[in-house]
């Protein structure tokens, strides 16, 4: 069954851009162009995710979000906003959204986030996971032990969290911004290639010479941990 996504966006161009991209990636899309209509659809609860514009005619995006959460509907919500400052993001996240993306954004960033939310939802439904693995790489979340092909790998605490996040999202692209938010808990742009250097350090530890690379760079978007090249 294809997953349904609700896009609440009053700007037709942006709405088309998002809907077209989602359909190309195998989702089906419902659209609403104002707050009331969006809330009416969202309360149905059958969506895999809601993409909600922050500023809407009729009912403001944060008000819609508040009403959705008040009605005990826990569909993942990604807020889209032209208000890009860090404290606006924090406000959006505090209001109960699962993610916050600043307009204008690259579609690949939105897609990576929608998919990450799907996986998070699925993971929550499963039993508690104590080990994560990708190919010959394994991570024990209880003993904090990481091995590749039986050889132990020593990781710094932050490297451990970075690898854990990549493992939980293996096979999918994660963007630099997602890493910064999830692993470091910052919502600002640290500039230059701070994250890239952390990744290349981690890569040196887990992908030794002669072994098939697991940590891949997806040019222009971010990174992906997977067995296949």
């Amino acid at each position: 069954m294809t997953k349904k996504i609700l896009v609440v966006e009053d700007d037709a161009t942006t709405g088309d851009y998002i809907a077209k991209g989602l359909v190309e990636n195998g989702y089906s899309v419902d659209r609403a162009s104002d707050g009331r209509d969006g809330l009416f659809h969202a309360l149905d609860g059958a969506y895999a995710a809601v993409i909600l514009d922050r500023m809407l005619p009729g009912l403001d995006g944060l008000a819609v979000l508040g009403a959705i959460r008040a009605a005990d509907v826990d569909t993942p919500v990604i807020i889209l906003s032209a208000l890009g400052s860090t404290d606006e993001r924090v406000k959006g996240l505090k209001a109960g959204s699962d993610d916050y993306l600043v307009k204008p954004f690259a579609f690949s960033e939105l897609l990576a986030r929608v998919e990450a939310l799907q996986r998070r939802g699925a993971a929550n439904a499963e039993a508690v996971v104590t080990t994560l693995a990708c190919g010959e790489l394994s991570m024990d979340l209880l003993s904090h032990r990481v091995e590749r092909a039986g050889a132990r790998i020593d990781l710094q605490p932050r490297e451990f969290r970075l690898l854990e996040f990549l493992l939980r999202n293996q096979g999918h692209v994660v963007t630099r911004t997602m890493l910064l938010e999830e692993v470091w808990d910052y919502h600002f742009d640290p500039g230059t290639n701070v994250i890239d250097v952390h990744i290349s350090r981690l890569r040196k530890k887990i992908d030794e010479a002669g072994q098939a690379p697991l940590l891949h760079t997806v040019r222009g978007v971010g990174y992906m941990l997977s067995e296949a090249a």
């Binding site: 400052s85 690259a106 701070v194």
Partner: protein
């Protein structure tokens, strides 16, 4: 008293005002005292002159009726009756011999007839010389008459008067000082009220206004003009901010579309040279988007937005976190980064914005001080303020160019070759000011030390419900 800062006191307007007021009040009092002295002196003078004139008139009347012998007798009578106790009398014949009187000899300095002269004379029966006002008369026969009255009293009166006036002057100094202190204190209070508002405005709170009482006095009118000026500035700044924000905002959409198109193009290209070219363009577009985001962030902070998310957070932990975040990048550049902050140093503010400011400062230090050995990040608390420092060992910024370095988009010559938007320091300063603090550039000898000074306690302006 040794703790008073004299050079500073000398420069202080308050001190100058007090002294000027004192000088003016003394200058006003002096002519008054002078005139008082003159008048009092003249009254006593007239009194003595009248006495002598009276005595002289009586003796001359005696001369007209009885000639020299009558005058001689008159003098003897006056002396023996005691009527001349306060007088000096002397009659001499043309040869200069004393005929009658209580003064032994004619004073040699008095020659012809004089009207009024002051002189010390010895009288019979008096051990000390006394001061007299004298009048001399010469008769046609060659006899001469000296009539005088003691004016020791007048001298004493003069001295007393001078003493009293000096006393008044001495008394006027503390009274003048106290008066001017009160007056200056009153003016200072009113001026300080205006100054406080100006300071709040300098800190970015353009909505502040001076309180005016509607009395139309000069202070009120100063306040009114200031308020009118502020309203105008606020409108202009708001307009400017709207324009730059709108511009930055509108530029982001086409740039993002360019980035999306580049992404698509990248997917379809397989040859490496083309992919590299596209990559380079993407990189530039990223840089432009970052610059626009920085601009918007600065104007928000300058407009005072972000205060509603103020909360207590651990500043020490934040510096250590960011130090760890930049460690790998720094090591790659051969720079050592270390954070030294006490545990549990908390700050009331916006964690995200402060984090961004610090990360910009570290980023700058890495760019401009690459190969400079080490970067030290530290926070400490003293005297009610929290100082957050990012210090490098690079080339630094000469003292004369530091203000320039803080301006938006401004990049000093030495930085032109490197990548960057020129917004890092400007954003850090805007964040510092949003928190009621400021950013200072200091010499790290060698290198640059950027210090953000935060007030420790939340200021009264911070909304309590934040």
């Amino acid at each position: 008293l040794s703790r008073i800062d004299w050079p500073r006191l000398k420069r202080s307007t308050t001190a100058r005002f007090v002294l000027l007021y004192l000088a003016l009040s003394l200058a006003g009092a002096l002519p008054l005292l002078f005139v008082t002295y003159q008048q009092a002196d003249r009254i006593s003078h007239d009194h003595f002159v009248a006495q002598i004139a009276n005595r002289k008139a009586n003796l001359l009347l005696t001369y007209r009726t009885g000639g020299i012998p009558a005058v001689e007798q008159g003098i003897r009578d006056r002396i023996s009756s005691g009527a001349a106790a306060q007088a000096a009398l002397l009659l001499i014949d043309p040869a200069g011999r004393r005929m009658a009187g209580n003064v032994s000899a004619w004073p040699p300095t008095v020659r012809g007839a004089t009207d009024w002269t002051e002189m010390r004379l010895y009288r019979d029966g008096h051990r000390d010389a006394e001061l007299f006002a004298l009048s001399a008369t010469e008769f046609r026969s060659g006899h001469r008459l000296l009539i005088g009255t003691v004016i020791e009293d007048r001298t004493r009166m003069r001295e007393g008067l001078l003493l009293a006036l000096l006393g008044a002057l001495v008394l006027a100094i503390p009274i003048g000082l106290a008066g001017s202190y009160v007056l200056v204190g009153f003016m200072n209070r009113r001026i300080r009220a205006v100054g406080d508002v100006a300071a709040r405005i300098a800190a970015g709170d353009l909505s502040r206004r001076v309180e005016t009482g509607g009395t139309r006095d000069p202070f009120d009118r100063l306040g009114d003009s200031l308020n009118a000026m502020l309203a105008r500035i606020e409108t202009l700044v708001e307009e400017l901010r709207l324009i730059t924000d709108a511009l930055a905002h509108d530029l982001r959409s086409p740039l993002t579309r360019i980035r999306a198109s580049l992404e698509k193009a990248m997917e379809q290209l397989s040859e490496e040279p083309q992919r590299q070219a596209i990559d380079a363009v993407s990189h530039e577009v990223e840089g432009m988007l970052r610059m626009l985001a920085g601009t918007l962030e600065i104007s928000r902070a300058e407009a005072g937005m972000g205060r509603e998310n103020f909360a207590w957070f651990d500043l020490g932990a934040l510096t250590k976190d960011l130090c760890e975040m930049y460690q790998p990048l720094a090591e790659e550049k051969g720079v050592h980064v270390a954070a030294e902050s006490p545990d549990g140093l908390s700050l009331f503010g916006n964690r995200e914005l402060v984090g961004q400011a610090v990360s910009n400062l570290i980023d700058n230090a890495l760019k401009y001080a690459a190969g400079g050995g080490s970067i030290r990040i530290g926070a400490d608390e003293s005297d009610g303020s929290v100082r957050l420092r990012v210090a490098d060992r690079g080339v630094g910024i000469p003292a004369g160019r530091r203000e320039e370095a803080l301006r938006k988009y401004r990049r000093l010559d030495q930085a032109r070759g490197t990548e960057g938007s020129g917004l890092g320091l400007a954003l850090a300063r805007a964040v510092a000011r949003l928190h009621g603090g400021d950013l200072v550039l200091e010499d790290n000898e060698p290198g640059l030390s950027v210090v953000i000074v935060f007030p420790r306690a939340p200021s009264a302006e911070t909304p309590a419900d934040a």
